[in-house]
Symmetry: C2
Subunit: 118 residues, 2 copies
DNA sequence: CTGTATCCTCGCTGATACTG
DNA sequence: CAGTATCAGCGAGGATACAG
């Protein structure tokens, strides 16, 4: 099972890995962690993301129960996205990664330099 | 900086995220954690990976200092791959993810079911 | 404001075959 | 045994324009 976890798309590990591997998803989690934001706010904060891709990302996250989509029937229309408790809990694993990254980035970069020198 | 971490390819977080998002890299770490293996052994254990992709994965990991490539000048040739201490330490973040996945998979799956029902 | 609808390109993956 | 070479195909992702 440990061996097969990348081949079964239904494997929990694979599932989470695919989401965490997506840079937009990680960014959304980090940006939404302080409170709900509207579509345009998200877009501006992230910067460089097209509306299509942002929509895709948010839809996927909503499907998986990571964010909720709150629609206010006003004019002009307003939609707010916020993290669910599940989405908030994702910060744990993400933190583990960013911490590791900050701790070891110098070593990784050094390895790359060394590889280039060859 | 927290906002920009996905756009700068040199950002440590982005760097690690890209590697962890790659299913083959994660598998290699998990499989090599008990000791060195040869190219063919890795291929057989992983199953379903082509030599080209396995080579690409191992080269990338070697560049980043995650694995070492030990060549024994024998006939027939023998090459062993093993995790560096840095590679071993990657198990921490990976564990954080797999743990989260196993803990929350039911909730995620439930959210998906609910989304489908709509 | 909050998205959809197209189109297009690019990189990655896998299949297959071949070499030192 | 341990790769390299080559090619084809697919799908994600971005640019742009438009709609409710």
């Amino acid at each position: 099972m440990r061996n097969g976890d990348a081949f079964d798309p239904n494997c929990p590990t694979r599932l989470v890995l695919d989401r965490i591997g997506d840079k937009w998803t990680v960014l959304v989690v980090l940006i939404l962690k302080d409170g709900p934001l509207r579509f345009t706010q998200l877009r501006d904060r992230i910067g460089g993301i097209t509306p299509k891709v942002l929509t895709q990302t948010l839809r996927a996250m909503a499907r998986d129960g990571l964010v909720t989509r709150q629609i206010y029937p006003e004019v002009p229309p307003r939609v707010e996205y916020s993290l669910t408790p599940l989405g908030h809990s994702l910060q744990g694993p993400i933190r583990a990664i960013t911490d590791w990254a900050e701790e070891n980035v110098t070593e990784v970069m050094a390895a790359r330099e060394a590889a280039l020198a060859e």
